[in-house]
């Protein structure tokens, strides 16, 4: 994905130019949130399940070094080749080397937010390797030359008519046909051909079990399986935080993941990959890319518990009304806003401010990440590190000066209200963002404290 220069507020402003579309986007995602609620309520011990998942992840993060080595050893015993990548560049280099060694020119990839984070696709294309994303939503945004706008529902920002047009242009479906079933069937035919031709398959990883060295990949389309089973090389790319200690812990996470994500009891496919088949090479790339740095930040460590369900996006009233692309990062929404500043404070300094701190994200999170509290804490860090505008800092200092001195505050308040009454144009103008679509509160002649002084004996 290209780095964008516009900040969240600017991109959100643009998104809001088409209000009916914002309504549609909001209602579509709210529908997913409501499905998630219904599904959660079918499990009486839901909150206990969240607590348990959070604790297992805490243990995994606290002992990450040991679990990773255990996983590596088990995976190697299973016949996999394990690679370690310190950052996105090393990850991309490792994947490219494997593919070049096998002379791969064309390959398939199932959904992997990690490869989005590492910008793998453009890197491979620059090296003459064609990548076909096989998750239907990802394939759609790939054809549209756009990044995913949601980690679970990559093309949720696209209407079926727009997908019909894309398919007409790229896959030769009849113009004007936007029937979802027809379009899905067309994608199926198109992808089947790609699966059969692909020399290699990349998959993401939802859970990596330290105890057994196996990986679990969850999809609704079976595309990870199709890719991995047909290709002679399978490369599984995972962030180091995907580790869970034992296989039995899947019983907790698989119950939470799909219910939180899409309101399904479980994903259609929860595929376990343990050994390469006869004649196949299985590579596992373990990627850090800032994760150990985040692990070292006490206030933000828990963000690594994330299982990428996207529930925080679906519930976020800001995400629903600004769209995933407004976050200009591979992972959008509240979780993206606490992960991104760890990658680059300067580029993503706007994201922790793209929230009202309503707290709904923390409540839906299946691993109980204190997302909204981390947003608050990131704001403090970003200001202290100097990533806010000098105008804002100056404004805040003036405000602090007024609010720190009762006499100044009282005089300023009285004067302000007088100005608002005498010269309403001073505040009711284009320069005031509040006034653009809202009336200012009517300034009363008397403040409460002035009323109190006149009517009550002061204490």
């Amino acid at each position: 994905m290209n780095r964008q220069t516009a900040d969240h507020a600017t991109l959100a402003d643009k998104f809001n130019e088409d209000e009916p579309r914002v309504n549609w986007h909001d209602q579509t995602l709210w529908w997913v949130r409501a499905k998630r609620d219904r599904m959660a309520w079918t499990i009486p011990e839901w909150e206990q399940l969240r607590d348990t998942a959070s604790s297992i992840k805490l243990n995994a993060l606290g002992n990450l070094h040991d679990y990773l080595l255990q996983f590596e050893q088990q995976a190697q015993q299973n016949g996999a080749i394990v690679h370690w990548a310190a950052d996105a560049a090393e990850h991309n280099r490792i994947v490219t080397d494997i593919l070049q060694k096998h002379g791969v020119k064309r390959m398939v990839k199932s959904k992997s937010m990690l490869t989005e984070e590492c910008h793998l696709n453009p890197h491979l294309e620059a090296n003459g390797i064609e990548v076909i994303d096989t998750d239907l939503g990802e394939r759609i945004v790939q054809l549209a030359k756009e990044p995913p706008s949601h980690i679970v529902l990559p093309c949720i920002h696209k209407k079926k008519e727009e997908i019909g047009e894309l398919f007409h242009e790229h896959l030769g479906t009849p113009a004007g046909n936007a029937d979802p079933q027809f379009l899905t069937a067309a994608a199926r035919l198109h992808l089947r051909k790609e699966f059969l031709q692909a020399d290699a398959a990349i998959t993401g990883v939802n859970f990596a079990v330290a105890e057994t060295g196996e990986m679990v990949v969850c999809t609704n389309e079976g595309n990870a399986d199709m890719g991995a089973h047909l290709a002679k090389v399978h490369i599984a790319c995972m962030g180091i935080e995907k580790i869970i200690p034992q296989r039995k812990h899947l019983g907790v996470f698989l119950r939470l993941l799909a219910r939180s994500a899409t309101g399904q009891p479980i994903t259609t496919y929860s595929s376990h990959f343990r050994k390469p088949r006869e004649g196949q090479e299985l590579h596992i790339v373990l990627v850090d890319n800032g994760r150990s740095r985040q692990l070292g930040r006490e206030d933000f460590r828990n963000s690594l518990k994330c299982i990428r369900c996207g529930a925080c996006m679906n519930t976020c009233p800001v995400y629903r009304r600004s769209g995933g692309h407004s976050y200009h990062n591979a992972v959008a929404g509240p979780i993206g806003a606490i992960l991104a500043p760890n990658l680059d404070m300067k580029d993503y300094a706007d994201l922790p401010f793209a929230s009202t701190l309503c707290g709904s994200c923390s409540n839906v999170c299946p691993v109980k990440i204190d997302i909204h509290q981390q947003l608050y804490k990131w704001r403090q860090v970003l200001v202290k590190e100097g990533y806010t505008s000098t105008a804002k800092t100056a404004g805040m200092k003036v405000m602090t000066g007024v609010l720190s001195a009762p006499g100044v505050y009282k005089t300023a308040g009285k004067m302000g209200r007088w100005v608002m009454r005498a010269f309403p144009g001073m505040v009711n103008n284009r320069m005031n963002p509040w006034y653009k679509q809202r009336e200012m509160p009517a300034p009363p002649a008397q403040s409460f404290s002035e009323w109190y002084k006149k009517n009550k004996k002061s204490t």
């Binding site: 200001v383 001195a405 963002p433 679509q437 809202r438 509160p441 009363p444 009550k456």
Partner: protein
Amino acid sequence: MKVGLFIPCYIDQFYPQVGIATLQLLQKLGCEVGFPQGQTCCGQPMANSGYEHLTHQCNSLFIKNFADYDYIVGPSGSCVLHIKDHLHDPAAEPKAEKIRQRIYELTEFLTDVLKVTSLPARFPCKVGLHQSCHGQRGLGLAQMSELVAAPFSKPEQLLRMVEGVELVPLDRADECCGFGGTFCVAEEAVSVKMGKDRVADHVKHGAEVITGTDVSCLMHMEGILRRQHAGVKVMHIAEILNQYTDEQANS
């Protein structure tokens, strides 16, 4: 019981009627209420913008004003939550701690400390209750729609004691209105859109008055309603709970 009345700065300046209703209601319920004149702001506008390090003077001021009260009560869940979570002063930490433990948002003070079971109030009106996030999710004034847990609502419990109040149902019982402090101007487009959607939910269900525990949310929604000439009013919950019955009005 000595109650210190905490009237947040923007209520003091723009919504004095909310301060008056809160004061009268607490007195009506038998509290001895003091209003420290030196109070200004809890410091939340700076802290939520990332400038918590600038709030130490606001903190010292708050401690100076409120340290001597048995309880501190304010008609704003958001400001109360800020104090509860962030009031610190290295020079007076025991006092800060006492305040953090003794500060209450108005409705929780009524239900949990005063244990109010009836109110002498009448307000024949269709009312939509806006559950402000910081009160609801932060202070736990009401159960949250995200959690699998038994429902309760302290503000609703009180509104149901008021004769004539008809609470309207909402499609989204606890979605944020989009005020969000400086968010309301920094992210103007999304803030307004969230506010418009929230207001529309109340209007659709026939609310004549939108009430809530936070004036900031109400101020934001009022600004939108007035721009739309919607004819729906906003009132802080204290103003409704403090309504007189016909008997009181005639006496």
